[in-house]
């Protein structure tokens, strides 16, 4: 299997300052230990633990028995043919499916150990921590600045707002292009810029996780490349889950890849998880023949 020339994917030990002794709590994941050189050793901590998750829309079942764990700080790609439930699964991770009529979920999705469909869970808090960027860029009809500043304002993060906006725009690799026209309408940006604006909007409130639903599918190749570069740079700060129908993109970008497909075992095809592993394994030596068929392009 020939992988396309990929970028170097390095899992770097994050060079964050080691724990200081001045009593400030540095919020980190359990399992981080300080090494002698003053780095953190990041143990692969599971952010999302999906246990036997099935999704129904009314009587129709869209997904069956999905079991996978998404690790902190990694990029996890969900690939597969259209209609196999990858977007459904993604949207279930931040409860964006709640507004779809007839939506029902079985099984558990544990986020840092908490069932996100549990009793006391506040939907809004879920989305505050688990952000999403959609397939088609959907900027608000406001200025560029206001697009990014809107959510932080809601959250009450009013101090240092300008810095926060700048940092988000830098993080989305958009700052240099818009820094002189922050007051202009966001609708005047190109498609690729709008999508980066949506990413900036999402990271401005510093979510824990970023869900990306085919973020580059509506964009031209150059813009797509920019988005992919972006994901590498965002990786350490955020846990990223990306749905893509573009296998090469998954191979370029993701640490681990999940392959979904339609199970035609019963009468109706139901989406299910076929294989989930390190990206090199999925594309290099997949275990399941269906995976192999897909990644070698034997079917759509």
């Amino acid at each position: 299997m020939n992988l396309p020339p990929s970028r170097v994917r390095i899992r770097v030990d994050q060079p964050i300052a080691p724990p200081s002794t001045n009593g400030n709590a540095i919020l980190g994941a359990p399992g981080m230990t300080a090494t002698a050189e003053g780095h953190w050793d990041v143990a692969p901590e599971v952010v999302f633990d999906s246990r036997d998750v099935s999704v129904f829309y009314g009587a129709k079942q869209a997904l069956t028995g999905v079991n996978l764990g998404i690790r902190r700080g990694e990029i996890t790609a969900l690939i597969g043919p259209s209609g196999c439930g990858k977007t459904t699964f993604l949207r279930s991770l931040n409860r964006m499916n709640d507004s779809v009529p007839g939506f029902r979920i079985e099984g558990e999705i544990l986020y840092h150990g908490h069932d996100i469909y549990g009793g006391n869970v506040d939907q809004v808090e879920v989305r505050r921590r688990i952000g999403m960027v959609f397939q088609k860029p959907n900027p608000f009809p406001k200025s560029i600045y206001d697009n990014v500043a809107w959510a932080p304002r809601n959250l009450g993060l009013r101090s240092g707002l300008a810095e926060r906006v700048e940092k988000a725009l830098r993080g989305a690799a958009l700052w240099d292009e818009v820094k002189d026209r922050l007051k202009d309408s966001a609708l005047g940006l190109s498609g690729g810029q709008q999508q980066r604006l949506c990413i900036a909007r999402a990271i401005a409130i510093e979510p824990d996780v970023l869900l990306l639903d085919e973020p580059a599918s509506a964009l031209d190749p150059i813009a797509t490349g920019a988005i992919e570069d972006l994901m590498h740079s965002l990786k350490g700060r955020f846990t990223i889950v990306i749905v893509t129908h573009n296998m090469q993109q998954a191979a370029r970008v993701a640490d681990r890849t999940a392959f979904f497909s339609l199970e035609t075992g019963g009468e109706k095809p139901i989406g299910s998880l076929i294989e989930f592993d390190d990206t090199e394994r999925i594309f290099g030596s997949p275990r399941d023949p269906r995976t192999r068929d897909y990644v070698t392009g034997r079917f759509g």
Partner: protein, 307 residues
């Protein structure tokens, strides 16, 4: 866009919240959620308050008017009944419909079949303005033009002139509504006819109008429901009628429900109130049923078109 330019990882402030904490609403979010729930509550309350007003009004009319209703009430003239007003209203509204329906449909046809951009805009604006005319002004105009003996035509009060006044109110409603119906008809039908070389007028008469007939009927019923309740235009045009006997002569003033109710309410004579409530009940029943029925027809035809 080089990676070095982006402040990643090193020196970042830790997050302002603990991602691993339970996903309940706390602090700032709790306040925001309470406010959001309050607004939801207010919006729901507003909707049900509006319905409550409707229910109260209808209930009052039923409660106070039911007692007056009887076979005599409907069939006899004063003092036992209101038959003249019922018959008069039916005739006046009927005349209004006969005038307004063809004109409204023709205007809608003009807007959908013939009018270019500017002409369509102008005619649309005309319909908007006509729609927004206060009913009393329509009455004053028709009075001046047709009724007033010192005016232009000077015919004196007459039921048919009341029909003319009502038609001015009905035409914009029928035109707009029919325009909406015509727009729903798939273009493929008329395009197929054009491709076969069929003349436009044949297509309109034998393909388009029959398709639109149900919708036009619905629109007409809705405008009848509206016209049946109008008082202001008739106040000056058909108010001097006697209520002692049923008249089917549209060339003189005819009794009609809305004007009669208004006169009884302004007389402030409690003895007349019972008759006014009874008349109100009859009219509001007709109008509400016609409105509901028309809307049900619209809903059903929308489902048919989209299926």
């Amino acid at each position: 866009m080089s990676r070095e330019a982006q402040p990643v990882g090193a020196g970042d402030r830790p997050r302002a919240y603990d991602p691993a904490a339970p996903l309940t609403a706390t602090g700032n979010l709790r306040r925001r959620q309470i406010f959001s729930k309050l607004t939801e509550f207010a919006a729901t309350g507003a909707a049900f308050a509006a319905i409550a007003v409707l229910v109260i009004v209808v209930y009052t009319v039923i409660a106070r008017g039911a007692g007056a209703i009887s076979w005599d009430f409907i069939t006899k003239s004063a003092p036992e009944g209101v038959a003249p007003a019922l018959v008069g209203s039916a005739i006046i509204v009927g005349i209004g419909t006969l005038i307004a329906a063809p004109i409204g449909v023709l205007i809608a046809l003009y807007l959908t079949q013939y009018a270019g951009g500017r002409a369509a805009g102008f005619v649309s604006m005309t319909m908007d303005v006509m729609n927004g005319l206060p009913a009393i002004i329509v009455g004053v105009f028709v009075f001046t033009f047709l009724v007033d003996t010192n005016g232009t035509v000077g015919l004196g009060q007459a039921g048919w002139i009341g029909g003319v006044a009502l038609s001015i109110i009905m035409v914009p409603l029928i035109a707009r509504g029919t325009q909406g119906v015509l727009r729903l008809i798939p273009k493929s039908q008329s395009e197929a006819a054009d491709a076969l070389g069929v003349a436009r007028w044949r297509t309109v008469l034998s393909v388009i109008l029959p398709s639109a007939l149900g919708g036009i009927l619905t629109v007409t019923i809705l405008s009848i429901a509206r016209a049946a309740g109008e008082t202001a235009p008739l106040l000056l045009i058909s108010s001097n009628a006697s209520v002692d006997q049923v008249s089917i002569n549209p060339f003189e003033a005819m009794a009609n429900g809305p004007v009669r109710i208004y006169q009884l309410s302004e007389e402030a004579n409690p003895a007349g109130f019972s008759e006014a409530w009874g008349l109100s009940l009859l009219f509001i029943s007709f109008i509400l049923f016609a409105s509901l029925g028309a809307r049900a027809m619209v809903a059903r035809s929308k489902r048919k078109i989209s299926s």
